[in-house]
C-alpha cells in the first residue's frame, strides 16, 4: 500500500503528531511518501533524512509562506493526483481540522478523523463523548485518516534513508481567499509544556485559586512544570498557555502528575501519551483513573502538602 503522510511544521520543527502519523503509516503501508509544505523547513528535512521512507516531497511557493486552508488543501490535492496514494495519513491537529475536510471534498474521498487505533475491521474512533468506540472503514476508495495524539509512539519510528523530490505546485493569487495575520499569544509565557519531562497538572479538585500554589510548590520540589485543565484556566486561576487538552497543548511527558483532574475526554486527548500518569482525585469513579498507571483516591489538599513536606525533608 502507498501512503502519503502530510506533515506539519510547528515553528520550523516537525510536529510530534506528524512523527506519530509516520509511525502509523509505517505500520500500515510499504511505501511511504512524506509531504512537507512551506518555505522554511530545513530542520524538518534534515530530521526526515534519517527515517525509513520512500520519498520526501517538498513544496515551496510564494503563496505558501504562511498557512492557509485554501493553499494547503490545493497542494495536497495536486500531490494526491500526481502520486495517487491509497491513503493519506496525518496527525489530528487543529491545522488538520482546518484544511483536510477541504481536501476530502476536492478529491471526493472520505476523511476518517481522530483515529485512536487500527483493527482488522477498520479504523477505531471514539464516539458519543468517548463512551463508545466505533470501527469505521472506507470502501473501495482512497481515504484520509488522521490519528489522535498518542495513537502511536514516536519512539517507534523506523530509521533508514529516503530520497527528496521537489514538487511544482500550480497556485495563483485568486486561489487564496483569506488573509492570515501573525499568530500571537494572549498571555506570554516562556513555558514549554510540550518539552517538559514532568508536569504537575491541576484541575477543579484544587477547589480554590489560592490552592493552586500547592501545584507550583510541588512542581518546584520535583523540578516540574505546572499545567492545568480547561475549567481551571477558564476560572482565571492559571494562565491559558498552561492549558493541556484538545484546546491547549498536547503533551507526552515522562510523568503527568494530575491533581484533582476528573479526566474529561477533551483533557485526556492532550495528555494520554504521557509515559506515566499518576492521579490524585477524591472521586473513585473519575475517568482519569482509567488511564492512570498510579491512582490515589484521596483529597489533593491533604496529600499534596504532606508530599511536599516529605520531599523537602528527604532532599
Amino acid at each position: 500500500m502507498n501512503i502519503l503522510v502530510v506533515l506539519e511544521s510547528n515553528n520550523g520543527a516537525l510536529h510530534r503528531l506528524s512523527r506519530e502519523a509516520l509511525v502509523g503509516a509505517q505500520e500500515l503501508g510499504d511505501s511511504i511518501f512524506a509531504l512537507i509544505i512551506g518555505n522554511e523547513n530545513e530542520e524538518i528535512l534534515s530530521e526526515l533524512a534519517g527515517y525509513e521512507l520512500e520519498k520526501v516531497i517538498t513544496v515551496k511557493h510564494h503563496l505558501l509562506s504562511s498557512y492557509s486552508a485554501d493553499g494547503y488543501s490545493e497542494v495536497v490535492r495536486q500531490v494526491f493526483i500526481s502520486f495517487s496514494p491509497d491513503l493519506i495519513v496525518i496527525g489530528h491537529t487543529y491545522q488538520t481540522r482546518d484544511f483536510i475536510p477541504r481536501v476530502s471534498a476536492k478529491l471526493d474521498i472520505p476523511f476518517i478523523p481522530d483515529v485512536i487505533s487500527i483493527s482488522d475491521k477498520g479504523f477505531i474512533k471514539q464516539v458519543l463523548n468517548a463512551k463508545l468506540n466505533a470501527t469505521i472503514s472506507n470502501l473501495d476508495n482512497a481515504a484520509i485518516i488522521s490519528f489522535q495524539s498518542a495513537a502511536f509512539n514516536e519512539e517507534q519510528l523506523k530509521l533508514g534513508s529516503c530520497s527528496n523530490e521537489s514538487f511544482d505546485v500550480s497556485l495563483v493569487d485568486s486561489d487564496i481567499k483569506s488573509i492570515s495575520e501573525e499568530p500571537f499569544q494572549e498571555e506570554e509565557g516562556d513555558v514549554d509544556l510540550e518539552s517538559a519531562e514532568v508536569l504537575v497538572s491541576v484541575g477543579r479538585g484544587i477547589e480554590k485559586e489560592e490552592n493552586v500554589t500547592l501545584a507550583f510548590e510541588l512542581a518546584k520540589v520535583i523540578n516540574a512544570e505546572v499545567s492545568a485543565s480547561r475549567p481551571v484556566v477558564d476560572s482565571g486561576w492559571v494562565d491559558s498557555f498552561r492549558q493541556v487538552g484538545s484546546s491547549g497543548s498536547n503533551v507526552a511527558p515522562k510523568l503527568y502528575f494530575s491533581l484533582g483532574i476528573s479526566g474529561a475526554i477533551q483533557h485526556v486527548v492532550g495528555m494520554k501519551g504521557a509515559k506515566n500518569i499518576m492521579a490524585i482525585n477524591k472521586d473513585a469513579d473519575a475517568p482519569i483513573f482509567e488511564i492512570s498507571d498510579y491512582a490515589v483516591i484521596g483529597d489533593v489538599l491533604e496529600i499534596v502538602p504532606k508530599l511536599i513536606e516529605s520531599l523537602e525533608q528527604s532532599k
Binding site: A105, P110, F111, V127, A134, T135, I179, V198
Partner: protein, 256 residues
Amino acid sequence: MKIAVLIKQVPGSESALPIDSEGYWVDESSVTFVMNPPDNYALEEALLIKESNDDVEVVIVSMGPLRVQKVIREALAKGADRGIHILEQDITEKDPLVIAKRLSNAIKSEEFDLVLTGLQSDDTGMGQTGVLIGEILKMSTATLAVETIIQEDHIRIKRELESGWFQWVQLSLPASISIQSGLNTPRYPSLKGIMGAKKKEIHSLSATELSKEETLQKVNNVFVPQTNKQTEIIKGDIDQIVSRIIEILRTDIKVI
C-alpha cells in the same frame, strides 16, 4: 445578510447509550436527544451578529428524522427567523461527505453569506461538515473561531491555534466558519420567544430527493472501550500514601 446555522440533534450527555442488537450503533429508542452543545455556541454567535447588525436573517438548518424539528423549534424560540428541515429517515447514515453534499444541495439556492457550525458533534464527532460545505459551495472557510467581526464584504475571525496561540484571519464572504465552544454564553429562550416560535416557518425537504450520493465510508460496529492499563491503586493512611508516591517517583519512574 443571511446566516445559516447548522444544528444537529444528538444524544444528551446524561442519556443511556445501549448498543443496538446488530452492534451497529446505539438503540435510539432509549436515547434522550438534545441540541448538539457545540452548535448552541454557533447559534448564539449568529444571534449576536443579528443583534449588532442591520438586516440579518438567521436560518436554522437541520438534517435527520422528524424528531430534529424539536431542536429547530428551540433555536427559533431563542430568536432565529426560520428553519429548514432536511428529512432523513435513514438515521444510520454517518458519512460526513454524503451529509455535506446533501446539506449543500439543500441550501445552495439560499445563497447564504455565512454558514456557522459548532466545532463538532457530540455523537460521531467527525468535525468536518462546515468545512466540507464551504469547499462544495466555493466559500472561504475557517475553524475554531473564538471571535467574529463582520465588516462590509468580509469577516474577521480570531482563530484558536494550539498551545495558547491565536491568529486573526480575514475571509471574503460567503464563508463557512466553525465556532469554538465557550466563546459566548448561549441564551435561554424567553416565554415570548417560545410562543413566537410556534408561528415561525419550518420548511421540510426530503434528503433522498436532494441527491443520491454514494457512501464512501461506513461504521461497521460500536463497542464499549476496554482499558488494558494496569493501574496501581495506592492505598493506606496519608503517610503510607506519601511514602509510596515518593518511592514511585524515585525508583519506578526515576524523575527525582
